[in-house]
Each structure stands twice: as structure tokens, then as C-alpha cells.
Symmetry: C2
DNA sequence: TTGAAAGCGCTAACAA
DNA sequence: TTGTTAGCGCTTTCAA
């Protein structure tokens, strides 16, 4: 149906090997014939068949990107960085969305393998147990998740430190009952944030209280529901540290509807640093992850692995997040003030 | 390097044609051999080579999706719907981002053709002149842009009506100097919104004033800058109708910083209906486009065209948007009140 | 039911 | 510089 190099060869009166040569950088073909061939190609509106080319080259010039939820601006920003970086290197990006479903993730990985993407960037839906679950994906991969594995590269934010940083900040605001409105219970990054939270509490002489920790999906609806549950309880917390910004925006919405003064009576904090958290009317305190850098770095690591330029060393990159203290946290008004030392 | 059907054939002691048959739905191969083949395949951790399969099948089971800016939640939502719908039909999605650059769009289209995607969904960066520019993309396509072309299907929102609807709403609030903070000057959908705006003004005895119309990128920075420019002028407008929600959020930010009462002294409106516009602290009045439906419909139209199930009719689908009147518009306080009729 | 073989469109090794 | 040819991994026709 579509025009092939054979058609061009016939039309130009040359062998089709010459056409192939002319079309992919004129090595070993005279300027003259090359020019003629290119003219014919243009005239026939020829478009090289990538599929055929990939079959013989054994590479597809395609990357797979598997994310949990691209409607979350945090992941959308990462996707954008990956797509841009890949494109500069001549790669296209197949994007798939797991909806935080392990089964879906499995299926996507299988499909990526079948599609023979040259490599895949994966934000794993859940904790990979002992870290070896992602060791043999059967294709070059970079995880957007810090794992202990010795064989797969990864790029991630130091979630534990982020959790620690934020909790210390909340303690510094005078908060003593800090609830953690977490995301999915088996999300590893979420659990690491929780660990940082617990460490900060302990360092300040407080005991983490399981009653103050809840989990649920990374949605604003969940944030709203958990905030309601906590704040309608009999000893409500004085701070809500949320598993991500989307959850926090939901919590903030409940606080506003319930007429709770933020931050005077209640501090609210998120995690990620999506742009919408910094709107003038919101100014959510959060932990900023550098999405641009994450996407870019992950893509470059993957390309290095694929193209074998750099030594094929496995790299473990852990980015340090920063505290973005805005309007939803601040000195809290407490009836009874317990003196406490924060370094 | 990787295991092929030949390896399986050797291992199972059959011809590789049989393996092919067994692997793709057992037609013409005994249950017994089929079972043996599948076992061997599993044991060897076989993964079919999609590239080779696509070459012979002449289809790649892949769709291209070309969007201007996936970091805008409006487009992210569309992308999600497309990816989900495609996946249900067994198609993967290659996503690319044009950054609103015509040149980039051209390049992406070329690449999609080379990659032999089975079809492409495109939100054109700019007005395609007389609508024929997108008639011959050389592959099945659905535009996310209403065009008059008889040969290419499209799905779009009625931007003119949306612009009209919002402007009438603003007039109903008592606004008389309604500025239009547009997006890119050659964005067709943006211009259509502007037409609706002008129609509403005329219907109400007002003359559209070119002084009140500005263009710029679809970013909040642009919204902020244009709002500043307008509001620091000597006869500031009493309403800002923005080309999309992202622009409006920027404008809103300026108004807040400048201490302008919204909506008492100034109404602000957006277009799209992204979820962040409806946050409790924002409640931006906007025109809601059904992203989910747009993505889904576009994908289904494309799949119909590709798979030739439905009659290959070209469909022109124009969705009617709805007014989402929230907190940033309302009865305006005017020193001099000109009586006016709104139907 | 099974096997042999052609061919999808291309690249690259080898020959001329 | 140019042409011939093998083969990438698979599906599918045609024979057996």
C-alpha cells in the first residue's frame, strides 16, 4: 500500500540498497545518485517504515514510561521532562497509567516488553518486597523509586528526609498531635515519609501514635474524608501532614468548610510541591521534589544504559527535597503550652 | 539474543509455524502440541517480538497522541482518557508534546508516521488556515479541533458558545468593560472563544473594543502580567475573561496581591474547568469542557476508522460546554449603573 | 494437524 | 560507487 524503498529504487533506476544508503546518511553513495534518490523519495511522499527498520536494527527508539496517575500534576511534570529529554535524543515515549493497580502495572510491563521498547522508566505502584522484584524486568530500566537492588538504576527523592523535615517544621510551629494522612498503605515512598515523621517525633521526645496515622488513595476526596474523620474525633490533632499535595488540598478544603483557622488552630502540610499548591489563595506548605530533574535524570540514565555510552554502572540517585513553608503552617495557638526543645 | 519462536520450535520438536499458531490462539494445531509449546514458551520466558509481528501484520497496535502541553491538567485529563480507552482496545499510546510550537508539531507528526502508529489524535497548535492543512496527514487521524474539513473526524467543544455563555454571564453580573486575556493569537479555539465574547457584547448593545483584548501564552505568568497591565491602566476593566483556567489563576493571583476585591470590584473567569479551578479557596468561574468524554470519543472514533468496524464516516462532534459559576464572578459594585437588558 | 517457504520493509555484509 | 543477497522474527498460504 504505502511506498517503499523498492518503489523508489525502480523509479530512480538504482538498486534498493543504494536507496537505503541514500536515505540514511549518504555513506557509500555518490552525491549525484543520492540527490536523485532523495528527489524521487520526496516526490513519492515516501516515509520510511520504522517498524521494518527497528526489526533489523534490533532497537525501537522508543522508551516506555509507566506512571501511576498522570492526572496528578506531580507525575505530569515528570512525564513532560521524560518526553522532552527522550525526544532530544531521538526517542519517542509510550506512556501508560497504572491507576496504582499492581495488576495493571504487570500488564503494562509485559506489553512494553512485547512492544520492544528499548528501556522503561517505572514508578512502581508498591513496595517491591525485598527489592528484587524489579531486578529482572527483562529490559533496561530505571526506577523512580529508591531500591537497594544492585542491578537496577534509580532516581528518587529522599522521602524519609522529606518526612523528617516537614515533621520538624510542624513541631517547630508548636504542633504536638501531628496526624499523618497517608496515601496507599503499601506505597513505599509513602511509608518512607512516615518513617521520617516518626524519627522527628522521637527525636523530640514524642511517641508516634498509630491512632494518628491513616492511609488511603492519593486523592483529594481521601484527604477530605480523612481530615473530617480526624477533626471530628474527640481529641483532634493540631496538624495534618498529608501523603501528597493532592491529599492535602482535600484536607484543606474540609478545614475551610468546617471553619477551622489554618494555621492558627491547625497546620496542614503536603508533599510534592506541585504548582497548584503554591497558588496565592492556597500557599500550601509542602516538601518540594524536583520533578524536572527527576524525569531528566531518569531518562539520561536509561539512555546511557541503552546506548552503552557511559560505563554501564548502576546508579542510585537520591535527591534531597526542600521544605517549602507557606501559609498553611505557622505558630499555632495552644491553650496549654508544653515547652519543648527543637534544635 | 532474546528467545524466538525458532528456539521454542527446536525445544518442542515442532516446526516454527506451529509455534506461531499455538501462540496466537490455537487454530489448526492440536491441543496436545499447543500445550507443549506453551509450556516451553513459558519455561524459556518467551516474549513475542511485537516489532516483527507488526511488520507482517502491517499494524502496530499503537496510537499517537499529540498535545500542546501535558502539564496543563486540561490536557493531562484528556491524555488519561485516551490512554485508558486505547488500552481497553489493546492499543498503546505514544505521547508527544508540542509546547505550542508548529515546527515541533510537524516533526512529531512525521515521527508518528515513521513509527507507523495506526492512527493519531492531534490537538493542532494553531489555526490550519482553510482547514485543509490537516486533510492529508497520511494516516488515520482525529482532531481535537472542530474543522470544516470533510475528510477528517474531529471532537471539540463549542468554544464560540462557551465564550458567548461566559460573556453573557459577566454582563449579567453588571460588568461593562470586559477584558479578554487570550491565549496564543493564532490558537483557533481561543479565537472562537473571542468570537463568542464579541457576539454577546453586540447582542447587548456593546461594541467589542480591541483595546480590551490581549494575547499571550497559556500560562499563569502571562495571566498575571496581562492582569497587571490592564488593571494598572487608566480605565481598568471590570471583568477579566481569560483564555483558559491557567491564565485565569495567574490573573487571580495578581488581583489578590493588588488587594482588588473579587468579585465585588472585578470579576474573573476562566475556560476549561480543570479541577484545581474548583478548589474551595479558588472557586474560579469557568466554562467546563468534558475532557473525559473528549478523550474517549476521539479514541473511539479513531479506533473505528482504523479497524473499519463502523462505516468509515467522517464525524464532526461538537460538545456543548457548561457554565460553572463559582466565587470569582458575581454582582459587581459600580459607581454609575447603566441599565441594560440581558435576556 | 503439521511443515516448508514466501514475504512484510529494511540494513548491512559481501561482491563486483 | 553500486548491486546482490541474507536475514531481523513473525504470520500465513500452500502442500503434504
Amino acid at each position: 500500500m504505502s511506498v517503499t524503498i523498492k518503489d523508489i529504487a525502480r523509479e530512480a533506476g538504482v538498486s534498493y540498497a543504494s536507496v537505503s544508503r541514500a536515505l540514511s546518511g549518504n555513506r557509500g553513495v555518490s552525491m549525484e545518485t543520492s540527490k536523485r534518490i532523495l528527489e524521487v523519495a520526496k516526490r513519492l511522499n515516501y516515509s520510511p517504515n520504522g517498524i521494518a527498520r527497528h526489526l533489523v536494527n534490533q532497537r525501537s527508539k522508543t522508551l516506555g514510561l509507566i506512571l501511576p496517575d498522570i492526572s496528578n500534576p506531580f507525575f505530569a511534570d515528570i512525564a513532560l521532562a521524560v518526553i522532552h529529554t527522550a525526544e532530544k535524543a531521538g526517542y519517542q515515549t509510550i506512556l501508560s497509567n497504572t491507576d496504582w493497580e499492581p495488576r495493571t502495572q504487570e500488564r503494562q510491563l509485559l506489553l512494553m516488553r512485547e512492544q520492544r521498547v528499548d528501556g522503561v522508566i517505572l514508578k512502581p505502584v508498591q513496595d517491591a518486597g525485598d527489592d528484587i522484584a524489579y531486578e529482572n524486568l527483562g529490559l533496561p530500566a530505571v526506577l523512580l523509586h529508591y531500591s537497594g537492588s544492585k542491578v537496577v538504576s534509580c532516581v528518587d527523592t529522599d522521602h524519609e528526609y522529606g518526612g523528617y523535615l516537614m515533621t520538624r517544621h510542624l513541631l517547630g510551629c508548636g504542633c504536638r498531635r501531628i496526624a499523618f494522612l497517608g496515601g496507599l498503605p503499601d506505597s513505599r515512598s509513602n511509608l518512607q515519609r512516615l518513617e521520617g515523621y516518626a524519627r522527628a517525633l522521637r527525636e523530640n521526645g514524642l511517641t508516634p501514635d498509630a491512632q494518628l496515622v491513616r492511609h488511603g488513595p492519593f486523592t483529594s476526596e481521601n484527604g477530605y474524608a480523612l481530615a473530617k474523620e480526624f477533626l471530628q474525633g474527640h481529641t483532634p490533632p493540631d496538624a495534618l501532614f498529608c501523603g501528597n499535595d493532592v491529599i492535602a488540598l482535600g484536607a484543606l478544603q474540609y478545614a475551610q468548610e468546617a471553619g477551622i483557622q489554618v494555621p492558627q488552630s491547625l497546620c496542614i502540610a503536603g508533599f510534592d510541591g506541585i504548582s497548584y499548591a503554591s497558588l496565592a489563595q492556597i500557599r500550601l506548605t509542602t516538601i518540594r521534589q524536583d520533578r524536572q530533574r527527576m524525569g531528566e535524570t531518569a531518562t539520561n540514565l536509561l539512555l546511557d544504559a541503552i546506548e552503552g555510552n557511559a560505563a554501564p554502572t548502576v546508579q542510585k540517585i537520591l535527591l534531597t527535597p526542600t521544605l517549602l513553608a507557606q501559609a498553611t503552617t505557622g505558630e499555632i495557638n495552644r491553650s496549654e503550652s508544653l515547652p519543648i526543645e527543637i534544635d
